[in-house]
Symmetry: D2
Subunit: 245 residues, 4 copies
């Protein structure tokens, strides 16, 4: 990584290689948790031991563990080590590589503040046309669910309609920019739903309804909370098999 | 800007034309405020009157007024109309077109949640290398300011260093994606500083120091607040000539 | 309620009489909405007209309308007036006076930031004994619901357990200080439930479960969001007959 | 602590004795940091060692360390132990007992969400009379500072004026309820100022001005941020001698 501040700004923002090494380690530990080789409640090897096992430096191990904690998969107990907290559904790795799953969970951290802010502004500024568009998107979600399966396009259209209602096209542009990762996340999520229960799809629809209700009511704080709740639940449905009804 | 060509739902996220019409109207009212034809405390014409003057529909007028309110330039008083609240410095329009200024202020609404979230995560996850990078960026800002002028690259490098310290490269990627608008905002802001007072540049440096202090201390809430404060102040310095020391 | 007699600035914090006049007006408009004399979608009289009808000044009318907006009962549409947005269930006024209802809804605005902050800290600091206490409180809620009715004490005990898990006894003290209003709110809410559907009580229980899950997982942001969602839903169940299943 | 959920609610919310034991330990470690026996950058004894030294159980030690972390005085480095991060000014303990200082810092955690929410609502709802009252309070602060010393009453009156502008008297009531601790905090803070530099008092005044500006401008988000910034800085001025100019 070049930190030269005089450089052309393009360069400054390039993600370094260190992150990717942490990603690899993250993926391998994730795989062990998904496969059940590391069971819920079990203690992970010490940082030092992981360094030796994977031939990486301590900062790399800490970065990987920090991400697993942020994803709610493991938990650090001061002085006692790191323990497996939740185990994703087995079928998760049938549909996605660990590296992709890691990327989807990274994406959640960006979506949370971004879409929450868009939902708040949408409640403050939405015009009649915005409400029509949101209802149209939600109607498609309802119909598809009734017919048996919610498509990525319908889910994405709902989120795009909320972003657009913010009256600031940069929110739409941002969603568009991460659309690849976002679609992947939704596709995986919906695949899990198809092979899982309908209760799961019902939950998605109900969470959308809470967001829509707050925006229609002009309740800025409620809209932000409902969006945060929805995206947070989406993460949990992916990382905790017990939440994955 | 490269938009991933991936999915079919491309059209879903396309910003509509209505926004752009609102932008034009926004720009014209902004110009009248900057030029002083509309003075602080003065009442804007009624919505209906603006519709007639500009030959646009009511929703377009409302969208434009809503943005001016969000930017802190005008204020609605229930039942009494809309009044000019703050007036930007005259020299603002020497350096940028109203359309650009509108875009810079739109950008603030996206930066606020995004960079605030990155700063929070940075305080939670920063590693030694991150702190070194942030201090290096801030040291360049200090030196340039001492030598007479802070460059965009130095300011941008500080924000990039914070985003990188979040440990989630998507924050860096997002900043990179909006780098064009972001640099424009910073350039305008720094141009105002060069022609303005050094107190203004000192304020930028001190706000950076608050962010850095909170990240070093591992104070997540403090880091989020300091970043929100900094970006909010940057907006005020642009929109209020009295803040533009 | 015991107010520390300590300082001389006692008078500084005394609520003024103007608020109480606004309360009266608030109560009268609320009654008209609950009774159905003002129907959903209907426009309220103009500010000026309300001034004349109730013999009060404009600021008093604005304060009352501002509260009705904050409670999600009415909605201002710029330039078009104020409209009834949601109508509480008829039976609401069977169980409480408008003045009490107003007070309960005021209380929500204080509980939201306070209990959300406590839930966040609880996720960060909870010790084993805290988790046991939270689970015990939630178990009582589950059992009482199975047996037909959730009591105020059980609901309150859950919230007290979360506040206590924050590790900062001032949160407990604050809840204790507003316990009178809080119990009133919960009693009214549970009365509505008893005469309403069991779906409503199930929702309360599920919202508690989300809070508990996030605290157990050490998910600070999730805990704050789940608490905000829960308290926000409690307000909606009270103010919108269509939410009051 | 009695967890019986059937009990009279008064009992449920009583803070237990365990907290107070943690307080004592907190105070003793704080004293060692203030006195300089534990220096900045130095490592604290291990949890186990502290258990032995003070004859307390592990949860008590963890509670005390958790508070010291929350106050920004110490920092945990995963796998390496807990280190002193900041050292308060020597003269801090001339003016207050460690137990009081602990209580003041606890109070910050409650004030932050509470006063931030009040400031946000104030920006949304303030009426002319509120703005007059806030300016009057701030004018007194300015004058007193010019004359050499800011009194607790003036500082408190500013915060009371903001709470009152929220239009929800429960915020005022809450501030009134914690007025004893709040005044103590402000008194200590102002005592430090009197024996310290005027730059410190200037900072308080400027932070007030930011809050006032956002409320006058009707900038809800800005008002919340400015209040969070102010209270956060007040904490830092108390816990970090290098911030205590």
């Amino acid at each position: 990584m070049d930190h030269s501040p005089a450089g052309p700004p393009e360069f400054v923002l390039q993600p370094g290689r260190r992150q990717r090494l942490g990603d690899q380690l993250y993926g391998q530990i994730l795989e062990q948790i998904v496969s059940g080789r590391l069971r819920e409640g079990e203690r992970l090897p010490s940082e030092l031991r992981i360094c030796e096992m994977f031939g990486v430096s301590r900062p790399v191990v800490r970065a990987a563990l920090s991400r697993l904690r942020a994803d709610g998969l493991v938990q650090a107990r001061q002085g006692a080590g790191t323990f497996v907290l939740h185990r994703p559904a087995d079928r998760l790795t049938r549909f996605a590589e660990p590296g992709q799953i890691a990327q989807f969970l990274r994406c959640v951290e960006v979506r949370l503040p971004l879409e929450a802010a868009a939902a708040r502004l949408a409640a403050e500024r939405r015009q009649e046309a915005d409400l029509v568009r949101i209802e149209a998107a939600q109607a498609v979600c309802r119909r598809e669910l009734d017919e048996g399966s919610l498509r990525v396009e319908a889910d994405l259209a709902f989120h795009a309609a909320v972003a657009s209602a913010s009256g600031n096209e940069m929110f739409t542009d941002m969603l568009h920019h991460i659309q690849g990762v976002l679609s992947g996340f939704m596709r995986l999520s919906l695949n899990l739903t198809r092979t899982g229960s309908t209760a799961r799809a019902q939950a998605v629809l109900q969470e959308h309804a809470h967001i829509q209700y707050a925006i229609v009511s002009g309740d800025a704080e409620g809209a932000e909370t409902a969006m945060r709740f929805h995206i947070g639940q989406a993460r949990r449905r992916m990382t905790d098999r017990n939440r994955d009804l």
